[in-house]
């Protein structure tokens, strides 16, 4: 047996799992082999250190947070209460059956015919504004989106998630068009709140066609439009937003703005993508706050790139186009902000 073979036995030796013969041979070898003896000592040391790695105190409020969560009514309970408030529970069973069938049919027909792959709620011409909890109105926005993009956003009605995905893929705004759209978006126009502009093409083929499109290892795609331009891709799903800006010194201001916007879990990491030092902020905001956060970021300085990566979130498909689910608006979404020095 070679040293490499003996080293593989060390862990079992520590656990007394070797048979007598194996243990004897190993012990003899250890006596004459300083390298294997050192290896055994380092293994023992590593295991000893790991045994001391379970002493981190849990959050002080862990139990109270669990209780708080348990006391919240679940979605089913909320629905049940809602139904009860309509007085349906007092109806005879046949009437309930008819009512449920009717509501189900209504929901399905609406779902099948009106849901858009680009989501419910944020469309090319209107943006949702939370007026109060569970109450939403749509505020018209003067559209500056060019016709090709606006047309691209008018998606036919999908009927299932695969079809939604397929249709969405086919309706991706080409990189070239995207640039045109971007050039019309200015950070100075605050009344023209940045909303849906399209999705960064994910296909490698598209990346090759557009020389300005970069694809990094972690699938983050960034575009290089004119300085001061903004793009917010939208699929009514989980958002991952990347902003790149030549304002390395403004990091503190970014943190201040994010805190002002009540963003949570603000984190920063640095990395060197393409030999360019980059600071990446990630944070979590309520879905309904996203547009306000973007607006606030405009005040920090010229932002060169803002891209978004949709992360699949099937439940986002529930609901109807134009009337976003208030629960979605209140949901916390992860956002990522990249600042390039």
């Amino acid at each position: 047996m070679q040293c490499a073979d003996f080293k593989k036995l060390l862990s079992r030796f520590l656990e007394h799992e070797l048979d007598e013969a194996q243990e004897k041979i190993l012990k003899q070898h250890l006596e004459g082999c300083p390298a294997c003896s050192r290896s055994l000592a380092s293994l023992q040391k590593m295991v000893n250190i790991m045994r001391r790695m379970d002493n981190v105190a849990p959050p002080l409020d862990l139990i109270s947070r669990v209780n708080q969560k348990l006391d919240q009514p679940g979605w089913w309970e909320q629905a049940r209460r809602q139904v009860e408030s309509w007085g349906i529970m007092k109806m005879p069973y046949p009437a309930i059956a008819v009512s449920v069938s009717f509501v189900l049919a209504l929901f399905l027909s609406h779902y099948v015919t009106s849901i858009s792959p680009l989501g419910k709620g944020i469309s090319a011409t209107a943006r949702p504004v939370v007026v109060a909890k569970n109450e939403i109105k749509r505020e018209p926005v003067a559209s500056s989106i060019p016709p090709p993009v606006a047309q691209a956003l008018e998606i036919a009605s999908p009927v299932s998630k695969p079809e939604i995905d397929q249709q969405f893929a086919s309706m991706r705004v080409p990189a070239a068009d995207m640039k045109i759209v971007l050039s019309e978006r200015s950070f100075g126009q605050r009344e023209d709140a940045p909303m849906l502009l399209g999705e960064v093409p994910a296909a490698p083929a598209a990346a090759q066609k557009a020389p300005s499109l970069q694809k990094s290892a972690d699938r983050t795609e960034t575009m290089s439009p004119q300085p001061g331009n903004l793009i917010v891709a939208n699929r009514q799903q989980n958002w991952r937003l990347t902003v790149a800006s030549p304002i390395g010194e403004a990091q503190d201001r970014v943190i201040t703005v994010l805190k002002d916007m009540r963003a949570q879990k603000i984190k920063r990491r640095t990395e060197s993508a393409a030999k360019q030092p980059t600071a990446i902020f990630s944070f979590v905001v309520n879905y309904g706050q996203l547009s306000q956060v973007i607006e606030a970021l405009q005040n920090i300085g010229p932002v060169e790139r803002l891209t978004a990566l949709p992360i699949p979130r099937p439940e986002a498909y529930m609901g109807t186009q134009g009337m976003p689910n208030p629960q979605v608006l209140e949901e916390q979404i992860p956002v990522e902000l990249t600042i390039v020095r």
């Binding site: 593989k8 862990s11 139990i63 348990l70 972690d218 879990k265 990522e336």
Partner: protein, 205 residues
């Protein structure tokens, strides 16, 4: 040199009996009994999740979800396994889901808005070690950080057994029950995982 669990066997048996009693009360609707169960297990579950995910804020979330799920499902828990094993199973499943979700996400980050730093700064603070000099304590902290990093880079299967065996110091049969695999598989995984870890850490430990 074999592993010994943190508590002696009679202590463990007493703890299991207490757990059974609390679970029974909880199944009868006693919420305070569940709070007691949480108090008894929160530290171990939190640390297991923390080591599994390598991120404090995510560990907070998953530990919380573990107890929420446990409470919601406790009426169906038949006490064939130990309560702690059952909790580990829930926690591990939630960790797996989270790691899958994180798979395409970014590298580790440092929190800026939370006073509790993630990583091993916490461990340094939490372990009262009066026997060590500051230099040694610093060295231990650094080594823990390096070990955590190496654990993060392990395959999920290896990470789970290392956390449960070497950090949580569970017995092989408990790990096998929590992971739903054979005891022999646990053993072979732990030895291979340690070998991988040792190879990766050979320059520092």
């Amino acid at each position: 040199m074999a592993h010994t669990t943190q508590e002696s066997r009679p202590q463990q048996d007493a703890a299991v009996a207490d757990d059974r009693d609390l679970v029974t009360r909880c199944q009868a609707g006693d919420r305070e009994a569940f709070n007691d169960l949480m108090r008894r297990h929160q530290r171990r579950i939190f640390n297991a999740v923390l080591r599994m995910l390598g991120d404090y804020s995510q560990a907070e979330e998953i530990a919380q979800d573990t107890f929420v799920r446990a409470y919601q499902a406790i009426k169906g828990f038949r006490q064939e396994a130990k309560f702690s094993t059952w909790l580990y199973t829930i926690a591990i499943n939630l960790c797996r889901n989270r790691l899958r979700r994180n798979a395409c996400a970014c590298s580790r980050t440092v929190s800026l808005d939370e006073p509790i730093a993630c990583g091993d700064g916490e461990i340094q603070r939490e372990i009262p070690d009066t026997t060590q000099s500051p230099d040694k304590a610093l060295e231990a902290k650094e080594q823990m950080g390096l070990i955590q990093k190496a654990i993060d880079e392990l395959d999920d299967d290896f990470r789970e057994v290392v956390v449960l065996r070497d950090i949580q110091q569970l017995a092989y049969d408990e790990i096998a029950a929590a992971l739903g695999i054979a005891e022999g598989t646990v053993k072979s995984r732990i030895h291979r995982a340690r070998h991988v870890l040792q190879e990766r850490l050979k320059d520092v430990i």
